[in-house]
C-alpha cells in the first residue's frame, strides 16, 4: 500500500543491500565517581561492551535479555540519546556516532522511539492532539493549519477516536495511551522505530491489540523495528531475527525460529526454558536449564566468557580465561560459546503441531 510520505533528499544512495543500521564495536561506559568537588573516577559500569549489530531494512530485530543486560542502553545510544564511548553507528551508510545539531535533528525524523510506560511517557498537562502533533511543530514538516487534520488521521490509523483530540492522557486506558505513543512516533514517517518494552505494562488482552497494530503499521509504512522486550514469547511472535544480550554483549543471534528450536548458547537455553508455557503437558515435558544466582555486576564483569560463573556447561580454565567469539552455527545463527549446546529443542512441540 502506498502512502504519501514527505519526500526528503536521500543523503546518499543506499542500496537495499546495506543495512539500515550498522553498529560496530559499540561501547557505552557510565563512569562511577567519588567525591563532590574533586570527582575521582573509581570505575565504570560496562552497560554496552562491544556490540556489533546490523538491522536490515523492513525487518523486526528482537533484542532480549534480563534487567541490566544493557539492552535499553544500546537502544538509547542508537537513538543518540546517549553518546557512545567507543565504536561507531551508521544509519543508511552515514556515520551518526557523533552527529550534532542540525544533523541530529534530521536524524530524529528517521528514527523514533516507543517507550515502555505509557503513563510516564506522555505529558499529563498536554492534550493528546498536542502530544501527537509536537513532532510536526518541532520539525515544521506540516503547515500549522494542517496539523490538526494530520494528527486526526494518525489517531484514526492507530485506532483512536479522532474526536478525542482535545482530551488529556489520564482520560485514556493503558492500551490507548500506548497507541498515543505509537501515533507520536509515526508522525514524521520514520524509517526505524525502536520499541522499548512497548507492551510489558499492558494487560494480556490489550497486549495483543497493540502487537497487531505494530505489525499492521510495519506492513503499511515499511517500517523497521528494533523490538526490545524481556518476554521471549512476545519477541518470538514479532521478530524476524532475535539477538540475546547478557551483561553488555550479544551472546547469540539467530533468524526466525532457529533460536527457539536450537539455542546454542547456554544462556539462551536457560532463558527459553524459564519461560512459563500456558499448556500444562508441554510445560511438564520442558527441558529445564536452571540458572543459579543473579546476573553479576556490570561494574566488574567476569573474565573470559561473562556467563561462566553461572553456566552449567562451563569448563575451566578455558571459559574463565578466553573470551568466546560470535561464531556461526546453523544458517543465520551465531553464538559466542566455547561449549555450545547440542541440537535440541527446549520445548517439544507435538508433531504436526
Amino acid at each position: 500500500m502506498s502512502v504519501e510520505v514527505t519526500e526528503r533528499p536521500q543523503p546518499q544512495p543506499a542500496t537495499s543491500e546495506t543495512p539500515l543500521v550498522r553498529i560496530r564495536a559499540l561501547r557505552k561506559l557510565f563512569p562511577i565517581t567519588r567525591g563532590i568537588l574533586f570527582q575521582k573516577r573509581i570505575g565504570d559500569v560496562h552497560a554496552v561492551d562491544g556490540v556489533d549489530l546490523d538491522i536490515k531494512r523492513g525487518e523486526t530485530l528482537g533484542l532480549v535479555g534480563e534487567t541490566g543486560c544493557g539492552k535499553s542502553t544500546l537502544a538509547r545510544v542508537l537513538m543518540r540519546l546517549y553518546d557512545a564511548t567507543e565504536g561507531s553507528i551508521e544509519f543508511e551508510g552515514q556515520d551518526i556516532t557523533h552527529a550534532k545539531g542540525g544533523d541530529l535533528r534530521e536524524l530524529r525524523r528517521e528514527m523514533q522511539m516507543i517507550f515502555q510506560d505509557p503513563f510516564a511517557s506522555l505529558n499529563p498537562r498536554k492534550t493528546v492532539g498536542s502530544i501527537i502533533g509536537a513532532p510536526y511543530r518541532l520539525h515544521r514538516v506540516v503547515p500549522r493549519n494542517k496539523i490538526k487534520s494530520e494528527v486526526q488521521q494518525l489517531m484514526e490509523l492507530v485506532g483512536l477516536n479522532p474526536e478525542h483530540y482535545n482530551r488529556y492522557p489520564h482520560e485514556f486506558s493503558g492500551g490507548q495511551r500506548q497507541r498515543i505513543g505509537v501515533a507520536r512516533s509515526l508522525a514524521l514517517r520514520p524509517k526505524l522505530i525502536v520499541c522499548d518494552e512497548p507492551v510489558s505494562a499492558l494487560d494480556v488482552s490489550i497486549q495483543a491489540q497493540v502487537l497487531n497494530l505494530l505489525e499492521d503499521l510495519q506492513e503499511e509504512f515499511n517500517l523497521t523495528y528494533l523490538f526490545i522486550a524481556h518476554d521471549l514469547s512476545v519477541v518470538k511472535h514479532v521478530s524476524d531475527r532475535v539477538a540475546v544480550m547478557y551483561l553488555g554483549k550479544i551472546v547469540e543471534m539467530a533468524v526466525g525460529q532457529t533460536l527457539y528450536r536450537n539455542p546454542k548458547h547456554p544462556y539462551s537455553g536457560a532463558l527459553l526454558s524459564a519461560v512459563p508455557i500456558p499448556d500444562p503437558d508441554l510445560a511438564a515435558a520442558k527441558k529445564r536449564i536452571i540458572l543459579e544466582g543473579d546476573v553479576p555486576s556490570p561494574i566488574d564483569p567476569p573474565s573470559g566468557c561473562r556467563f561462566h560463573p553461572r553456566c552449567p556447561n562451563a569448563q575451566f580454565p578455558k571459559c574463565s580465561e578466553e573470551e568466546p567469539e560470535l561464531l556461526p552455527h546453523h544458517p543465520g545463527q551465531v553464538a559466542a560459546c566455547h561449549f555450545p549446546l547440542e541440537d535440541r529443542a527446549i520445548i517439544e512441540t507435538p508433531a504436526g503441531g
Binding site: T67, D203, A208, D279, G353
Partner: protein, 338 residues
C-alpha cells in the same frame, strides 16, 4: 473429603466513591483444601487482588462494604475482632506482594525485619528470633544468610528481595500463603527460581498457596486449580486440565488466544485480541459483564446474569452458551491455534 482450609462464600466488596459504588468483588465463592495450590487469573481491575486482600483482613469495613463469609479453619474472619485477626494474619495466613522493592522497609536491616515479624507472634528472645530469621533466609536459598541478614534491602537484588519476603511470610509457618503477582516484577530466569522455590517450600511447610497473577503460563506450571476472574466475578473455575484443554468461558478462550506462545507453530499467525476494554466497575454491563466484548453474545446475555454452573466435577463456568456449543467452539477456535 477433607475439610476445606478456606471457604469463601458469596463475598462482595464494594467501595463507595464520589463517582459511585465500585463493585470490586461481586459474589465470589470458592473453597481451598489444605496443601492445594490455587491460581487466580485475571486482568487489572478484575477483583483478584481485592478478594485476597479482604481474606487477609487488609481491606475492612472502614473502607468498604463487605458482605459474605470468609471461613478459615472453621472461623469466619469477617466477624473476628481486630486483635484476633491480627493473630491470624501473619501466623496462619501470610502474603507476599508483587513489588519486593516497596514491601520491605528501607531503613531496617532485612534480618531484623524478619525477626520482628517472628517476635510479634512468638515469645522468643531477640537472639533466638535473629537466629530463626537467618535460618529462614537460608531455607529460601539466600547464600551467606548470616551476612545477608545484616544488610539493608537496597543491597539485595530484586530476586533476593522477593526471597527475603517469602522468608518473612513463611517464618511463622502459615497454613495459607497468598502470593499476589509474586514474580511480575522479576526477570524470567529469576521468576523460574522463585516459582520453583514456592513449589519446594509448599512441600516443606505443607501450606496451601494461592497465586494471583495475570500470567496464564505461571498458573499452567504451578497450580492444581484455577479460577478466572472478570469484573469482580469468577467466570470459570476448574482443574488446570479443564482450563487449558477444555475451557468453557469465552473470556478464558480470549485470554488463551491473545497471548503469543513460545510453542506456537512457525507460521506467523495473528494474535486474536479480545475486542474492546475491560468494563468500569462502577457501571458494570447488565447481564453477563463480558457480553460487550464477547464474540458469541446472544440476546439472553444482555439481560440475564449467568450463574456459575458446574459442568463436571470442579469445572464450572458462568456463561449462557450450551455445553455442547462451548465444547465445539473451544475445539474449533482455541485448540486449532496451538
Amino acid at each position: 473429603m477433607a475439610e476445606p482450609l478456606l471457604e469463601v462464600k458469596n463475598l462482595t466488596v464494594h467501595f463507595p466513591t464520589d463517582d459511585g459504588l465500585v463493585k470490586a468483588v461481586d459474589g465470589v465463592s470458592f473453597s481451598l483444601l489444605p496443601g492445594e495450590t490455587l491460581g487466580v487469573v485475571g486482568e487489572s481491575g478484575s477483583g483478584k487482588s481485592v478478594s485476597f486482600l479482604t481474606v487477609m483482613g487488609l481491606i475492612n469495613a472502614k473502607q468498604a462494604v463487605i458482605e459474605g463469609q470468609i471461613i478459615f479453619q472453621g472461623q469466619d474472619l469477617l466477624t473476628l475482632p481486630v486483635d484476633e485477626m491480627r493473630n491470624v494474619r501473619g501466623e496462619k495466613i501470610s502474603m507476599i506482594f508483587q513489588d519486593p522493592m516497596t514491601s520491605l522497609h528501607p531503613y531496617y536491616k532485612t534480618g531484623d525485619q524478619i525477626a520482628e515479624a517472628i517476635r510479634v507472634h512468638q515469645r522468643v528472645s531477640k537472639q533466638e528470633a535473629h537466629e530463626q530469621a537467618v535460618e529462614m533466609l537460608r531455607r529460601v536459598g539466600i547464600p551467606r544468610p548470616d551476612e545477608r541478614a545484616d544488610q539493608y534491602p537496597h543491597e539485595f537484588s530484586g530476586g533476593m528481595r522477593q526471597r527475603a519476603m517469602i522468608a518473612m511470610a513463611l517464618s511463622l509457618n502459615p497454613d495459607l500463603l497468598i502470593a499476589d503477582e509474586p514474580t511480575t516484577a522479576l526477570d524470567v530466569t529469576v521468576q523460574a527460581q522463585i516459582l520453583d522455590l514456592l513449589d519446594r517450600l509448599k512441600q516443606e511447610f505443607n501450606a496451601a498457596i494461592v497465586i494471583v497473577t495475570h500470567d496464564l503460563g505461571v498458573v499452567a506450571e504451578h497450580c492444581d486449580h484455577i479460577q478466572v476472574m472478570y469484573a469482580g466475578k469468577i467466570v470459570e473455575a476448574g482443574d488446570r486440565r479443564d482450563i487449558y484443554y477444555g475451557a468453557h468461558h469465552p473470556y478464558t478462550w480470549g485470554l488463551l488466544a491473545s497471548i503469543p506462545r513460545l510453542d506456537e507453530s512457525d507460521t506467523k499467525e495473528r494474535l486474536q485480541p479480545i475486542r474492546g476494554l475491560p468494563p468500569s466497575l462502577i457501571f458494570v454491563p447488565p447481564g453477563c459483564a463480558f457480553h460487550p466484548r464477547c464474540p458469541h453474545v446472544f440476546d439472553r446475555c444482555r439481560t440475564d446474569v449467568p450463574e456459575l454452573l458446574p459442568a463436571d466435577g470442579h469445572h464450572a463456568s458462568r456463561c449462557h452458551l450450551s455445553l455442547s456449543d462451548k465444547e465445539r467452539i473451544f475445539q474449533e477456535e482455541v485448540m486449532a491455534r496451538s
